[in-house]
Amino acid sequence: MKWTSIVLIQAALWNLCMAVSALDIPASWVNEHYTRTIDLKKSYVRETVLVEAKNVDSSPISEYYFSLPDGFGGMGNVSVLSAILDEQVPLEFDKLENNVFKLKLPIPLATNSRVSLRIRYVYMDVFSPIPRQIGMGDIQTLLFKVNKFNYSPYPTDDLTVLVEGMNKAKEMDILDKPDSETAELDVPEIPTVSEDGSWRLGPVDNVKPWSLKPVGLLYDHNKPLAKVHLLERGIWLPSSDINEFQIEEYYEVYNDGAELNSGFSRVEWIKGNYETARNHWALSHFEFPSTSALEFDDYYFTDKVGMVTTHKKIKNFLLFEPRFPLFGGWKYNFTFGFNQKFDNHLKKLDDETYILKVPLLNSALDLTYSTVNLNFYLPENAEFVNVSSPIAFQSIETDFEKSYLDVSDGHKKVTVVYKNLFEDVSKVDVLVMYKYTKANYWWKVFKISGFVFIGLVSYYLLQLVDLSL
């Protein structure tokens, strides 16, 4: 009895803490204008929030708390978030719990002054196909759950929500419950104007803090929801002065969209001409954009049973078709390798320190990633110094990987782990600094030639042994 009461008190205290941490935001701002723009064109959601906020506190403030407009656990996995002040100054921020971010203004803002913030973020794994199983010729319909309001910790004078990139959208009531007690469910009606492909909600005045009204949006999205479950992106750096480095990427992909309601019928596939159709919900090809900087020299595609020959270069793309089209729930894996020139990628700081700059991803179009392991294979005996990434990573590890003619420990392998990325991250560069001296290089050459020499000498000595009877 006694124990249970203690447990109960503890639980109550815990709840209180949770509530406090969510509530512990001083009401020092008012959002005068608040615009959410939600883009549903891709297999992930790209959202931009424009806020004009006014300091209503009695003293200058340097923090603005921003909460993702969620409140009911509908936002899946959030990828990258960035905040910009007055269209030019990037802001630093801390991530607090419950998807609340503390944005730090560069200087405290005086009372009654205004700031304009632009916050952009991407989230994924939020779509569910309705119905779950459809025929090959049907059109895939996705359900997207969204909060019609902004779920801001501060009151909002004027709220507008824009949703773009939908076809034949329908609104649905959903039964999802708010996951926080602070949520304000008593919300005003919000006027909705729908034009082709987009929705405009609002403007609505005097929105209370933590306003929440989850609704479902049902719309046609006849493209695959391609998802990379795991990407191992390996970058092999040569030890000599070759002007190229090798990249080998291993993908485990699946289609998160609708499933086939029957077995796969080749006749229907041929008759519907879906192979060449650009708008079909089966994932039948990957398009890797190629530029003058990224030409995919000597590229190859393989999987665990050998080469895959269905690929071609067309204009600015490398088109790769997996062995079979992927319908919802179907999986595939493949390895994609190519060489890349060092131009503008490797910089020598001094005699022994190098800085390598490579894109974090080499993404095909419209892909999202659950886990990305970015592996740098530094030359043998090189010393790893540091990694600099504009996007937060989960962890960093170093290890060794033996490759051809590695006579010491092997290549130094630096693994940087990322979670929840999407295609545009390929525009982001990661910097790696490492040290590799000439002595290290010659030591390896000397060691290999030494072994060859020992081998030949021992062969010679063995020949001298007279075994004849």
């Binding site: 077995g263 080749r266 062995r323 079979f324 033996k402 006579v407």
Partner: protein, 740 residues
């Protein structure tokens, strides 16, 4: 005189022996280079891939070996094949091949820091060993004649299509290393029996052990060496050297071979091995007799001989028959019978007859596989007869036996090719000895000069010289042409006939550019990626190893064919009606059925063309339920068009092959491009117990999912018939009586 010899033995100041050695090494290197590079067509044209069927199992086993310990490998029980029986894989395979590539893999990785992918080692193993085969053939032929003949036969062996057919890159089969070991064992055996050396006898035994660990065809050595000894004894050529070498080889070789789990006690129980044991006993008696002969008078010895021979023969025969009858020694295997009686397999064991490589050889195959060597082969044998030393007897026996075997089974071309190369080498080199020797021309001139001095008989001598030169030039140019043509032919055959992986098929786009048909891997990879890991796949046994290797799924039967009944069960499921098949499928927990269908693109090696074997094999077990006759039309034709029999049209195989085939022709009659028959729309099959799960791009592989039992306990045929007629969904109210 001394300056003269010095001049002869030196060219440009280098001793001629050094030059000879250098040339020999150069020739060896180029022979090995030619042998290896001519086997790389498939890698260059396609990719580094394991070929055909059996190599996929060997590859899978090798992967198992390098990822587990050696003892795990020997004790490997594979529950992913022969479901639900499983297979004691570790105890029923010849581990030599896998261990060889495993050792190479470890050595390269651990000692040379070359972590090469095990697949590439497996692919390149056969070409690498073919280089060694050429060297072993050189050693064997050198024992027969001289090193000139040796070099020639090494070149022949390196590029002869008969051997290349089983050793191109990717054909990772036991034969890949077994032929090398065969030739090396024989070379050492000849050396051993020539010198009576225990060392060479032991080396022969060790190589024999390696051979036993690598290939079931080791029985060939087990019988050939005793036969050689036996014939030599009959020819009265017994001596102590023969005794020493044979006893050394037999004792060590037999004990060593018994260490292979799959062989075990076969060397003393199986009839295949009795000849070796018998000759071992015989040679002891002969040695004893030899000793007795040296001690007693000739007359007494004759009596001794007659009595002992009579008693030994009767004892031996009686023992053999008695032990076989008691079941202590195993009867001869089916493959052995089919060696002697070519129609044996067709009548008694359809499963052996169904394999294309067990068919008798067509005569053009001999020319195709060995080119001009086939007619040099008798010449070589003849030359062996002329000299007829002990070692020549060996070649003669080998040649005669293998000529017969190769005529019986296509695959035994492989064992014939080496002896053809040896004989060809001997014949060509003998010819060159005679015709390339131009010293007599010069001696002829000397004679001419002499006669000039004497001033008599000038004309006849010069005309004889012209004829000599003419005949030499004629013979040499024609043989130069034959040699050239041989190389050309070998390259052409290798490139066109033996370099297709058969997993990937070459094809052409409509615009003429080369492309490949990759349906097998497409479908196998689909299985691997998108079916539950423990899914059971039923297919005809041909594809068992490939499914295990590429799709990594459990199969019911595979190319091991150890259980005829199980294979017949699969055959019955394929050739019976849906109701009968469904029972079999459900009893064996089958989740997917995989068939090969070539009717769309005209691929002739498909399941409908193998269908008769499925029928025959299952008829062997269930003669009452499956009858081959029912699948033939009244006129005795095997048809799939409108004249196809009801049994044919109702069989699961027919239905699965042509399911939705007519949709390709917009609902009109379809045309099967393999069998060139029209499939009328009236024959369009309906499937009720399985549903289409996947069909590859060119329809070569079709995979069907076995339906679950109906949850109302209805017959699946009724269910699908019901759903066909009632398009609109009718919801029935439950009967009141059900609720009471």
């Amino acid at each position: 005189m001394s300056t003269n010899t010095k001049l002869q033995s030196q060219v440009l100041g280098i001793p001629i022996d050094t030059i000879r050695l250098l040339l020999q090494v150069l020739i060896f290197v180029s022979v090995a280079g030619a042998a290896i590079s001519s086997r790389l067509f498939s890698v260059i044209r396609f990719e580094s891939i394991i070929h055909e069927f059996d190599p996929w199992f060997n590859f899978r086993a090798t992967k198992y070996l390098v990822t587990h310990s050696f003892y795990d490998f020997l004790n490997w029980f594979d529950d992913r094949t022969w479901y639900p029986l499983g297979r004691v894989t570790g105890g029923t395979l010849y581990p030599g091949l896998m261990v060889t590539s495993g050792v190479i893999w470890h050595v390269l990785r651990d000692w040379f820091s070359l972590p090469i992918d095990i697949r590439n080692i497996c692919v390149m193993l056969a070409p690498a060993f073919s280089g060694l085969t050429a060297i072993a053939t050189y050693a064997l032929t050198t024992e027969m004649k001289d090193s000139n003949a040796g070099l020639l036969s090494a070149i022949f062996m390196g590029i002869a299509p008969g051997y290349i057919s089983r050793s191109v890159a990717g054909s990772y089969d036991n034969e890949a290393i077994a032929i090398t070991l065969l030739m090396a064992t024989f070379a050492f055996w000849i050396k051993a029996q020539k010198q009576g050396s225990v060392l060479y006898g032991t080396l022969t035994a060790l190589l024999y052990f390696y051979m036993v660990s690598a290939w079931g065809g080791y029985v060939f050595i087990t019988n050939l060496i005793p036969l050689h000894v036996f014939v030599l004894i009959l020819m009265g050529r017994y001596n102590h050297r023969l005794y020493t070498s044979y006893c050394t080889w037999y004792a060590i070789g037999t004990l060593a071979s018994m260490q292979i789990p799959f062989v075990g006690f076969l060397p003393i129980r199986s009839n295949d091995h009795m000849a070796a044991l018998g000759v071992f006993g015989l040679i002891q008696l002969v040695a004893f007799g030899d000793y007795v002969k040296s001690q007693i008078t000739e007359k007494a010895f004759k009596t001794f001989l007659v009595v002992s021979i009579a008693s030994i023969v009767s004892l031996g025969l009686g023992g053999l028959v008695g032990l076989t009858a008691l079941g202590w020694i195993a009867p001869w295997t089916g493959r052995f019978y089919s060696l002697w009686d070519t129609s044996y397999a067709k009548i008694h064991i359809p499963i052996i007859a169904s394999v294309s490589e067990h068919q008798p050889t067509a005569w053009p195959a001999f020319f195709f596989d060995t080119s001009f060597l086939i007619w040099l082969f008798p010449a070589g044998i003849y030359l062996c007869f002329q000299e007829l030393k002990d070692e020549h007897v060996f070649v003669i026996i080998y040649g005669v036996l293998c000529s017969y075997f190769a005529g019986v089974m296509v695959r035994l071309m492989l064992t014939l090719t080496p002896v053809i190369c040896v004989c060809g080498g001997i014949a060509v080199s003998k010819l060159f000895d005679a015709y390339l020797d131009i010293s007599d021309l010069f001696t002829g001139e000397v004679v001419e000069e002499d006669s000039k001095k004497k001033g008599s008989k000038k004309k006849p001598a010069s005309s004889a010289t012209i004829f000599k030169i003419l005949s030499k030039v004629l013979v040499l140019t024609s043989f130069a042409y034959y040699l050239f043509y041989f190389v050309y032919h070998c390259t052409w055959v290798t490139s066109n006939a033996y370099s297709s992986p058969s997993v990937v098929l070459p094809s052409r786009n409509p615009d003429g550019s080369p492309t490949i048909i990759d349906d097998y891997r497409e479908a196998y990879y689909w299985l691997r990626m998108n079916t539950p890991e423990d899914a059971k796949v039923m297919s005809w046994w041909d594809y068992g190893y490939q499914i295990g290797g590429m799709a990594d799924r459990t199969t019911l039967v595979d190319n091991n064919t150890w259980n005829n009944t199980h294979i017949a069960t699969v055959g019955k499921a394929m050739c019976s009606s849906e109701e009968v098949s469904y029972e079999i499928l459900k009893k064996h927990d089958v989740d997917y059925v995989l068939i090969i269908f070539g009717g769309v693109i005209g691929f002739s090696g498909d399941d409908l063309n193998k269908f008769l074997w499925m029928i025959r094999i299952s008829e062997g077990i269930w003669p009452d339920e499956v009858r081959e006759r029912d699948f033939f039309t009244d006129r005795g034709e095997y048809k799939v068009d409108q004249s196809a029999t009801e049994t044919m049209k109702n069989s699961l195989m027919y239905k699965m092959s042509y399911y939705r085939f007519h949709d390709l022709f917009n609902g009109r009659d379809g045309i099967d491009r393999v069998r060139s028959q029209t499939i009328p729309i009236a024959n369009a099959p309906e499937l009720s117990v399985v549903e289409e799960a996947f069909t590859s791009t060119n329809w070569i592989v079709r995979i069907y999912k076995v339906k679950d039992l109906d949850n109302l306990g209805r017959d699946l045929k009724q269910v699908s018939a019901g759903s066909k007629t009632k398009k609109s969904r009718i919801i029935k109210k439950p009967k009141i009586s059900l609720r009471e």
